[in-house]
Amino acid sequence: MTEIWQGLVRAIELIVTLDAEVIEITWRSLTISVIATVLASVLCLPLGALVHFRRFRGKRLLISLVQTLYSVPTVVIGLLVFILLSRSGPLGGLNLLFTPAAMVVGQVVLIIPILLGLTISALSSVDRTIADTARSLGASGPQTAVLVLTEARFAVTAAVIMAFGRAISEVGIAIMVGGNIRGFTRVLTTAISLETSRGDVELSMALGLILLLIALAVNLTLNRIQR
C-alpha cells in the first residue's frame, strides 16, 4: 500500500516542480484526446440524430452493432490503423504512422461507436412530444435535431465525457500507432505502461493521478458549458 501513498507524493512532487517531461506528456495526452473527441463529436452528434429520427428497417440491429463495437479491444483498432497507415498499407503515402495524428485517427475510430450509441440513447430519452412540438412550429429536420440534442444536453455531455475518458485512458492504440516515442508520441498512458513494465510503480501511480486530474478539469469544464 505504501506504493499508492508514495505515488501520491510523487505526483504532487511532479506537479509542483513542473517537471518538464511530465508537462509535455500531459499536454500531448490532452491535445490528442481533445482533438479526437471534438472530431468524433462533430461526426457522431448529427449522425446519431439521423439514426434516431429516421425510421428504417434494421435500425435496432444497427444500434446493436454499434453497441457491439463498444467491445472492440484497443489493440485490434491499433492493429487496423497500423495496417492502414503502415508503409505498405493503403494510406502509407501519408506518412502518418508513429505520429500524434495517427493516434488521433485511432482514438476517433475507438470512440465513434461510444459517442454514436450514447447519443442515440440520449436522444431517445427525450419525450417524443418535444420533436413533434418543434416540427409543428416549423422546425426543419436539422433544427429539430439541434433542439432535441439541446434538450438532452445532460446525457449528450455525459456521452462526450465518456468518449473523452475512453480516448485519454486507452493505451493499445497509442502504443501501436503512436509508438510511445519519447518527446514525440509519448502520452500519459503509454508512459504509465512503460513505467509499469520497468517496475516503477510509484511513477506509474503518479502519472495516473495526473491523468485523472486533467480528466476532472475537462469534465468540470464540459459540465459548466452544458448548463
Binding site: 512503460l194 513494465s197 517496475g199
Partner: protein, 264 residues
C-alpha cells in the same frame, strides 16, 4: 470447460520469464514436460526483466528466468534470490535496412553503433529498461560513449519505450537500425524490411539464467519446486532440447545449451 478459479497454492509454481524467451514459444514446450514430470501446475508469467524481478521481490512468483546480468546480481545481493543458474544463451543481433545506409555490415557491435551515430542513421531503442535495453546501454558504454549523452544527441535516436516486436516494426517503418534478440527477430522476419547486419561480438552475448526466490527473505514462496524447475532446466535432456529448439520452425536453432559453453 474453464478452470475453476479455486487455488491450491501448493500445487502451483509461478515463474516469471522475460518476454523474449516466452515469445519464442520455448516455454510452451517445456511447460508440459515439467508439469508431467512433477505433477505441478506451472504458471508462466512473462514480463520485462525489470518487472519480473519486481514480481520476485514481492513474492508473487517463485522463480525467475531473466537475462540482465547486473540486475540479477543486484537481486541476489539484496537477498531476494538464492543463486543465479544460467541455462541457455544466444546472441543479440543488430539489424537495419538491407541498403545499410550507415554501412555497418560486418563491423563489431561497438564500431557499428558509433557509425550509426556519426552518420545520423536512425536508431530505434527499446528504451524500456528491458534486458535488451540494458544490453544496448552496455554496448554504448563499451564503445566509450556516455549513454545519457547519446540519448540526448538528436532526432536520429528514437526511444520507442515498447516491447521488442513493436520496436522492430518501428525500425522497419522508419528504415532504422535496432538491437534485437534473435527469437523475436525471426518471429517477425516476414513483416520486416530489416536484415541482420552485425551478429558477432563478445558484447552481444545474451545469457538466460534462472533464479529461485529466497524463501528466507520472501515468505511463502515455493522454493522446493523452484529448485526442481532449475534442476529440470539444467538436466541433460532438457539442455539438448533447448539447443535444438527452433530448427523446426525457423530452420535454425534459437539458443545454445548453456552446458555447451564455458563460464562467461
Amino acid at each position: 470447460g474453464a478452470e475453476t478459479p479455486v487455488l491450491e497454492p501448493k500445487a502451483r509454481l509461478k515463474l516469471a520469464t522475460t518476454t523474449s524467451l516466452y515469445d519464442t514459444g520455448l516455454w510452451g514446450h517445456l511447460e508440459t514436460l515439467f508439469e508431467k514430470k512433477y505433477g505441478v501446475e506451472l504458471d508462466i508469467l512473462y514480463a520485462g526483466t525489470g518487472k519480473a524481478l519486481e514480481l520476485g521481490r514481492r513474492g508473487d512468483v517463485d522463480v525467475l528466468a531473466v537475462h540482465d546480468l547486473p540486475s540479477e546480481e543486484r537481486f541476489i545481493a539484496d537477498g531476494y534470490g538464492v543463486k543465479r543458474v544460467p541455462f541457455a544463451y544466444n546472441y543479440f543481433i543488430i539489424v537495419g535496412p538491407s541498403a545499410d545506409p550507415a554501412g555497418i555490415k560486418g563491423l563489431s557491435p561497438e564500431a557499428a553503433f558509433i557509425k550509426v551515430k556519426e552518420t545520423s542513421g536512425a536508431f530505434v531503442s527499446r528504451g524500456d529498461d528491458s534486458g535488451t535495453h540494458a544490453k544496448e546501454k552496455a554496448i554504448w558504454k563499451a564503445a566509450g560513449l556516455d549513454y545519457e549523452m547519446v540519448r540526448q544527441s538528436g532526432q536520429w535516436y528514437i526511444e520507442a519505450g515498447s516491447g521488442m516486436g513493436p520496436t522492430l516494426m518501428m525500425a522497419s517503418e522508419k528504415r532504422a537500425y535496432t538491437l534485437t534478440d534473435i527469437g523475436t527477430f525471426l518471429a517477425y522476419k516476414g513483416k520486416l524490411d530489416l536484415v541482420p547486419l552485425v551478429d558477432k561480438g563478445e558484447t552481444l552475448l545474451n545469457v538466460y539464467a534462472a533464479i529461485a526466490v529466497n524463501p528466507e527473505k520472501v515468505k511463502g514462496v515455493n522454493y522446493d519446486m523452484a529448485n526442481n524447475l532449475i534442476g529440470f532446466l539444467t538436466s541433460t535432456g532438457i539442455q539438448k532440447l533447448i539447443g535444438d529448439y527452433g530448427v523446426k520452425e525457423y530452420g535454425t536453432p534459437l539458443f545454445s545449451a548453456y552446458s555447451d559453453e564455458v563460464e562467461q
